[in-house]
Structure formats: C-alpha cells, structure tokens
Amino acid sequence: MSTATTPLDPQIRPDDEQYRGHRVFLLSILVTVLLLAVGLTMIHRDQQQQVIAQQVAHQQQLREQGVLLIPKISSIPKQPDPVAEFWTAAPIRKVTLKPQNVAMPAVYEAAITEADLQAVWDGSQIAFRVSWADSTVDQNVDTARFTDAVAIQFPLVRDASFMMGGKLFPVQIIQWKALWQKDIDEHFQDVQDVHPNYWADFYWFATPQDKHPAQGSPYRVPESFQNPTALMWFAAHQSKNPEAQFERRQPVQEMIAEGFGSLVAQTDSASRGCGVYQNGRWYITIVRPLTTEDREDFQFYPGQTDQIGVAIWEGSSKNVGGRKQYSDWISLQVQP
C-alpha cells in the first residue's frame, strides 16, 4: 500500500537529529542577535553618557571661559519683565566695564565698573537682562543733565570691533534709556517735569488743556500741540529725529553703527524692553525675536557661539554719548 505523506502529516515525524541541528542553529542566531542588541544598546548608552558628559564638560568649559549660556525656558512673557521669577534661575555672567577713553569725547574713570548679564530664550523669543548698582536714578534731561542708559551690541559681520564696529564692519546696538522708560511709565517728560514752577503765558497756536492746571502749565506736549502749525517750533520732532518722539511705544531703540559717531536708528525696531529700579539697582530687560526678516538685525541660532557687548551710561556722572563705560565682546550661546 502506498501511503501519501505530507510534511504536515502529524503521523510523520521529521528526523530528530536533523531538526535538533536546525534548532541549535536558530537559537544561536537568536542569542547572537540578542547579545548584539544588548551590546549595541550598552555601547549607545555609553556613548550617550559620554556625549552628555562631554556636553556638561563643554558647558563647564564655556562657563569657565566666560561664555554666557542661554537656557531655554517654557515661555517669555509678552510684557517684558525685568524682575520675573525665571531670572533668578538664569546663569549670571559678570561683566567688567571700562571707561571709554579711545574716542573723543572720553571718560577716564568708570562710573559703573560691573554689571550682571543674563539671557533666556523660549524657542522664538530671546530676552536679555542687564542689572547694575547705581545709587542715583537719573530719568530726566536738561542742560548738563543726563539720563541713565544701557545698550547691548552684536556684531553683524565677523571680526567687527567691540568699539561700535567700523567701516564695513557694522554692529547692531539696542539701547534703553531711563528717560524713555519714564516717557512711557508716566507721560512724555515735558518742561514742567523738570521745572515744575515754570510758566509761560502761551505758545503759538497751541491749545491749552484745562485738565491739569496743577501740573504747572495748561500746555502739555503733545496734547496741546495737535495743531500742525503749533508743531512748527519742534524742529527735531518735525525732522523725524528718533530722539524727539512725543509718543514713544518702547523704551528701547534698535540702531546700526559702523564706528564711533555713526549711530543711526533702524527704521524697524522689533525689540521691546522694560527697566525698573529696585533696591539701588537698575534691572533692564530687552526682548526680541530670535530671528527676524530685517537684514539689519542680528540673528540668533541655537548652538552657535555669538558675541554681545554691553555699555552703560550713568546720568549723574554726566555720562552721555561717548562718555560711557563699556565691555569687551562676551561670547554667548543659545542652548539647544
């Protein structure tokens, strides 16, 4: 009788010896794969640990080299806040300031010698904070009276000088002025804010305001000077001088420089800012997008090492213009 057999027939058992050989072979492959996987994982973990260790060491090294590390936080508030909670955790880079005595006019003794520099980012915005001890608050200007101020600077091309750049080596400068802060916090700082008892009977074509007779004058800038003819005497304002803005929206201004004396305000200023004076110290924050479409703006890229400069003006010490104290370039890195 002939019996039809199929490999699936349970009656038919394969040769034990033959199948044992196969099994061992498969098992050994499996074990090898497993071992390989475990080994690779271990190697990878090791590598990862090494990378982390390297990163930590690198950060430590950067920190030791004085690089300002910019950590990522969840979000930077829309309204710039120089005393927000997150600043307490942000790394501080101590900045040494020297008197500007290279270009005339100069100062030969620094009124402020040290400042604290910090920065954070949140994926789209970057915020800087500069703080320094100043025993006097100078927020108004007049003849021989000057405002406290701070500026941060970034090189727009490689090797631009920390002294406001140079011809073909432009830098971007973002300045905050205590005067501008007061313009925003209170109102445009007018004659009566400096000389409360000053009185003038009238100003041509101006409209007296009867709301604030106690403020010393019924004529206030800009409320009383809405008539275009009344504005004729404000030559700087009418010339669109960025200093003579009566309705300022930000206490900071973005500018471009190609060396001493060449500072020019940028048409578009994306930066926002705020400054407060607390316990004998100024705390100023300047916030701007990490990257912008503006070709005149410095662009920040995570992981890249960049440079920042700081300058501070102390009003009571008659600091203004080139009469300031400033830092060398300080390296910074937005931490990915």
């Binding site: 006019p105 003849t143 004659v191 003038a200 041509w204 404000f234 030559a235 700087a236 200093e243 213009g321």
Partner: protein
C-alpha cells in the same frame, strides 16, 4: 589735525578738519556805540524762531550789559579763567587758542554751563563798573562805564561746536558759511554746548537736541537780512557777506569795514574760532577791557570812529546800517549819497549824508490850519 590760517590771529592754527572756506561768508557788523539794549532784536528772533515749548531759555539773540552781564551767566569769564591770557605780538596772537590748550585729540577747551546759568537772561543789566561817589561829576570821560553787547551766533570760520560734535551733526554751509545743527541727526550729547566759547548752542529738553541760530537762512537765501538786523530800531546792524575766494573788495561794505579799514573787530578772537560778528568798539570804554574783548585793533578803530566826519567813504558805509532789508553786496558814494546794491546788483538804498530839511509855512492855506512845532 589740520593747520588752518586764521587771519584774525595772523597765524596758522590747528583745527580737527581740513576744509576750504565757503564760497562767501555770512557776517554781521554791530555798532556798540548805537545800541540802547531795547531787545527788539531779541524779541524778533524769539518770536519767530524760539517760541516753542522747550525753548524758553533759548536766546539765539541776546543783548547783555558789559562788563558784568552775560547769558548764560559768566559765559566768557569762565572760559577766560580757564585759558591762558591772550598775548599779541603786534597783529599776531602768540598765546594758545581753545583748539591748542588741551591734548591734540581732545575736543576744543570749553565749559558746560549748568541749568541755573540760563535762569537770569538780564543779570547785570545796566550795572556800571563801580559805585558813583558823592559829588561825582562828568569830566570829559566817565570814571565808571558799561555798554551793551548784542550777541548772536558768530558762524565762525572754525566753529568749535562743529569740531566738538562726535556725530558730525553740525555743518557749515558751502554757499554762505552759515553753521547749522542737523536736527535729524543730533542726539543731544551737548558737546557743542560745552565747546562753543560764545555759548550760542542751546539744549532743548523737549526736542532733546541742541539748537542754534540759523542765521535766518531762509531769508538770506532770498537776499534778505536776518530778523534781528531788520528789526533793529537803533540801526546798529549790518548783515552781508565777506569775500572768501578773492582779495577783499573795497566796494563790499563788509570787506571794506572789516578787512580793509578794520573798523569792526571780532569778539574774543583769541579763542581761535574766527567769529564773524564784528563789533565797532564803544568809544567811552577803556582800551584794556576792550582789547580783551576785541583784540589788538581797538585803539586804531576808536581813532577812525572819532574822525568819521572827515572820512566820507567810511561814514558812507556806516550809513547803510539799517537802511534796507536787502543784503548789500556793493556800495559807492555818489555825490551826497551812499548807494547800496543787493546781491542781484539792483539798487536798493540811497542814503543822503545830510538829511534834507523841509521848512513849511506856519499857515497851511489848503487845510486852513496853523502848523505847530508840537505833536
């Protein structure tokens, strides 16, 4: 640093910029002997140019009493104290100008007035040099004196304000030498306020920029004299141009009075800015004081002025003061008249040496009235 010839000092001096002189140089002559300090010039200027908010203390034109007056307070005395006294060897200054006293890289030597210094525009007004003793009487020369000094921006050949501006926001116009602050570029550093020895740049706390006398350039461009000149009721002022590109012309009243005859003298030439407001010194003030103010030519100038009646050309030029609102480019004496032509060479003024006298009848038949010598 460039070396520039300063004709007022009779020597070369250093200045930060090399620049050719302007095509012509705006200039003024003020006759101090005729000024009564009515301040009409001050009001004319202020009403037109500086009556805005923030300009309360800004006087592009002011008239002060010398020796004690000054706006801002002590503007000249403070600088005189800080700089070495002027020393002249004949017509050459041998002492140092404000551009030469400090290090070559420093801005011109100056002092920045404080805000209080602008608080009293008429301080020292009408004060004389000393007390009047009991029994004092006039004996040909007053023992004590004062005089009025009208002051505007000097539109200097070597402006200290321009030299000091780190932003180069101040410029001197090539067409007329008028010195202006670029109101768009100025950032209010006040370096010009500090450097100008005449303190004729002012800080505007509302505009937050510095401002100065603009030489009434919109009028000058039309051939008209500045408002302070036109409004002067004492006719003490003449406004026009000095020749810069050619030798002085005897028929240009400015070249004639300033460079050829040297009747009108610069104010504090020793500062070195080569100012372009020229003064005829007051006759009644002693030379020592006047030489400090106007340099070496005082004695000669006074002598000429005393002998004016014999000097028809000089007197003729002086008769043009306040006679027209047009800038006089050329003048001549024709018979009994001094004649002036404007920049377009049109005759604009004819002043007789002797005022015509009209004698009218006592009785006016036409109106049937008697004329009385009273008003």
């Amino acid at each position: 640093m460039a070396m520039r010839m300063n004709w007022q000092l009779g020597r070369d001096m250093t200045y930060p910029y090399e620049a050719p002189p302007p095509k012509r140089q705006i200039a003024y002559i003020f006759d101090t002997n005729k000024c009564i300090e009515c301040q009409t010039c001050t009001v004319a200027c202020k009403t037109c140019w500086t009556s805005g908010k923030g300009q309360e203390q800004i006087f592009w034109n002011n008239v002060e009493t010398k020796p004690y007056g000054g706006y801002p307070m002590g503007w000249d005395m403070r600088l005189l104290e800080e700089t070495p006294p002027a020393k002249w060897q004949k017509e050459k200054l041998v002492s140092l100008t404000i551009f030469e006293t400090d290090k070559p890289t420093d801005p011109p030597h100056g002092h920045r007035p404080d805000v209080q210094d602008y608080g009293a525009p008429n301080l020292g007004e009408d004060d004389i040099t000393g007390l009047v003793d009991k029994g004092e009487h006039f004996g040909a020369m007053h023992p004590m004196w004062m005089f009025y000094l009208a002051r505007i921006c000097n539109h200097c050949d070597n402006p200290a304000c321009l030299a000091a501006c780190p932003r180069r926001a101040i410029y001197k116009r090539d067409e007329d030498g008028i010195v202006l602050v670029d109101q768009q570029r100025c950032r209010g550093y006040q370096e010009c306020v500090r450097a100008c020895p005449y303190k004729k740049v002012f800080y505007n706390l509302v505009g937050r920029a510095s401002e100065k006398c603009i030489g009434c350039y919109p009028r000058v461009e039309q051939g008209e004299v500045a408002l302070c000149v036109e409004s002067c009721i004492g006719k003490i002022r003449l406004h026009g141009f000095l020749t810069t590109a050619a030798p002085p012309r005897a028929d240009n009243p400015f070249d004639y009075l300033v460079k050829i005859r040297k009747l009108a003298l610069p104010l504090y030439p020793q500062f070195g800015t080569a100012p372009n407001v020229y003064y005829i010194p007051p006759l009644h003030v002693h030379d020592g004081f006047l030489e400090q103010l106007f340099g070496h030519g005082v004695e000669q100038s006074k002598k000429m002025y005393r002998e004016l009646s014999k000097d028809r050309q000089l007197l003729g030029a002086l008769m043009l003061f306040g006679a027209t609102n047009r800038i006089i480019n050329r003048f001549a004496i024709e018979g009994d008249e001094a004649v002036g032509w404007d920049m377009d060479d049109r005759e604009v003024v004819r002043v007789p040496f002797t005022e015509r006298t009209y004698i009218r009848e006592h009785y006016d038949g036409k109106h049937d009235v008697y004329r009385h010598n009273t008003t």
